[in-house]
Symmetry: C2
Subunit: 337 residues, 2 copies
DNA sequence: CTGAAAGCGCTTACAG
DNA sequence: CTGAAAGCGCTTACAG
């Protein structure tokens, strides 16, 4: 049942059909108050009757506003980014903007992707910084003059605007919570990706909490990001070898934390009686892996929505209330500590 | 360090700078063979020097091809869809197309989203059918005349083209595998979403395998999709009550299967000696949850890439080799059965 | 409240 | 191989 009229009605067609000029049609959609009630009604009815759908490409070219926001994400598989994209997309939709998406895990590819995206003349760009951006990428964006917001970023923006939360504070808070439970020998399972400031900030937050409590802050083991759940087991093994009295593990992510919980199950250790585990991210698995992972929810959707708000404010008014915004995180208490 | 020249160089600027006509510039990019080597070289160099980025909005309007593919997905959190999007996006990028993304979980919202998207004049549409599409949605698409491919779909396309795999076959194959392991009492943990043919097809595949083996095919329990991992536990409990000798559980998804494995751990049941579990989807968790979940990999990325291929073939040549394509699935053998 | 006209930055037959 | 000209479907001052 494929068919479809290949020639869509244009604004001129609609104008003729409704017996008005094209510009009145345009006003009916863009500035309804400028046109008389009865005229508008007639135009809108005619539009529905002939199935008129405004051509936003022509609109973009004529108005200089594409109403498209380009989003670059390192990976859709990361549910944090997926949430950010959902928060962003939902917000944009309510404002009549569309999402132009590109996934780029490599910095080199990022430049090419950016080139293509920029050709589309997006009204704004959302950078989700799983990685650092190359100098050339920054130049491309800068030269384009398109407003940008960096997400999952808690420092000063590299470019224009930024939204995120304090990775440091969040890690410190949950580590402090372990201390308050009475644990004295606590390890950190991190990732060995030195170029990622994000992981380092979390680790520093953990270490700060240990120092504040007068505890060892060197029970640190870094696993490759690619290890997935297995990273939790690797960290358990390494840190237990270093400190046999280890009572708990504070993890760089829920994936690693879930891996640690699996390892506890394997060992027959009860959680949290025998061993405690803290996660980071509040992924879906956190709620489901027994006995429930205590973790920090970093509110990805809200980060996305905030990024959208900042961008549209900048696009439509030329200015923003604040170039950096923080989105609150929450510690979600379940039963793993 | 925000700046950026708000006024970007146009093709006319570049033409003037390079001392040629705009149309020669256009040809340098679109039909390089039509222009003399030396001329082309000069134009390209000048373009790089002034940082010219072709305006694809103007290009789209003039040529009638937006080179944008609109993709509608029910949820980005589902890693199957995330993979499909990645496969699609990577392919489109190599072909100079961009991805216009929208997430819609509700059929009603889908219509509004479709309206906006269609206004963008996408060259093609990818529908990822987590749900049925409303009559109105189908009409909208049909009326637009834009080529569409439905993904994760194994029957005849509702609209135009479809790409997927046999949900039935995949489920039957993995269930048959359980039978071959010598299991006699096998249950099905499915989802109670009657409108989803997708779940039903898997269930039928399971039941077919049981019938072929002369085993009971009524050990079926449906859990709400929203139950997540907990669904596995619920199904275990219900089916064990129905058949105390239950030896294995064939699951509608890896999430449910992982939940079943968690429940086995909780019970202290060794897998697969005491109990076997089969998954569906090969999500990240399948490889990581002990002892490793045997499951079916449905090749999401390949589905996305194939969708892209079909669409671009249709867009650029006006026809396709086949309106329906299947992407092979694989059974990934680990240790849960 | 309504409209004629120019223009957004490209592409595309059509000539030369 | 190169170019002048019309046109894609809108929006936007500017008049009336």
């Amino acid at each position: 049942m494929t068919s479809g009229s290949r020639t869509r009605a244009t604004m001129a067609d609609l104008a003729k059909a409704a017996g008005v000029s094209p510009m009145t049609v345009s006003n009916c959609f863009k500035h309804p108050h400028k046109v008389q009630e009865s005229t508008r009604k007639k135009v809108l009815e005619t539009a529905a009757a002939i199935g008129y759908v405004p051509n936003l490409i022509a609109s973009s070219l004529a108005s200089g506003n594409s109403r498209m926001i380009a989003a670059l994400v390192p990976s859709l598989r990361n549910s944090n980014y997926a949430n950010t994209l959902k928060g962003l997309g939902d917000y944009l939709h309510t404002r009549g903007y569309e999402l132009l998406l590109a996934e780029t895990d490599h910095a080199e590819r990022e430049e090419k992707v950016l080139q293509s995206l920029l050709g589309r003349r997006p009204a704004g760009i959302v950078l989700t910084s799983g990685q650092q951006h190359s100098q050339r990428s920054l130049e491309l964006i800068n030269h384009s003059g398109v407003p940008v917001v960096e997400t999952w970023h808690d420092a000063q923006p590299h470019l224009d605007m930024a939204v995120g939360f304090s990775l440091f504070d969040a890690a410190r808070d949950i580590a402090t919570m372990m201390v308050r439970k009475g644990l004295r020998h606590i390890g950190w399972a991190g990732h060995d990706k030195p170029e990622s400031a994000r992981y380092l900030q979390r680790q520093r937050g953990f270490q700060k909490a240990m120092e504040e409590a007068g505890l060892r802050s060197d029970l640190v083991f870094l696993v490759p990001e690619s290890a997935g759940f297995a990273g939790g087991r690797l960290a358990m093994e390494a840190l237990l070898a270093k400190e046999p009295q280890l009572q708990g593990l504070c993890c760089v992510s829920d994936v690693v934390a879930a891996g640690a919980l699996f390892d506890c199950m394997r060992r027959g250790w009860r959680v949290p009686e025998r061993f405690s585990v803290a996660g980071y991210g509040d992924y879906e698995i956190a709620a489901e892996v027994p006995p429930g992972l205590t973790t920090v929810n970093t509110n990805g959707a809200e980060i996305g929505r905030t990024a959208g708000e900042m961008l549209l404010q900048k696009i439509e008014t030329g200015r923003v209330d604040a170039v950096t915004r923080r989105v609150p995180y929450q510690i979600v208490i379940r039963h793993s500590l």
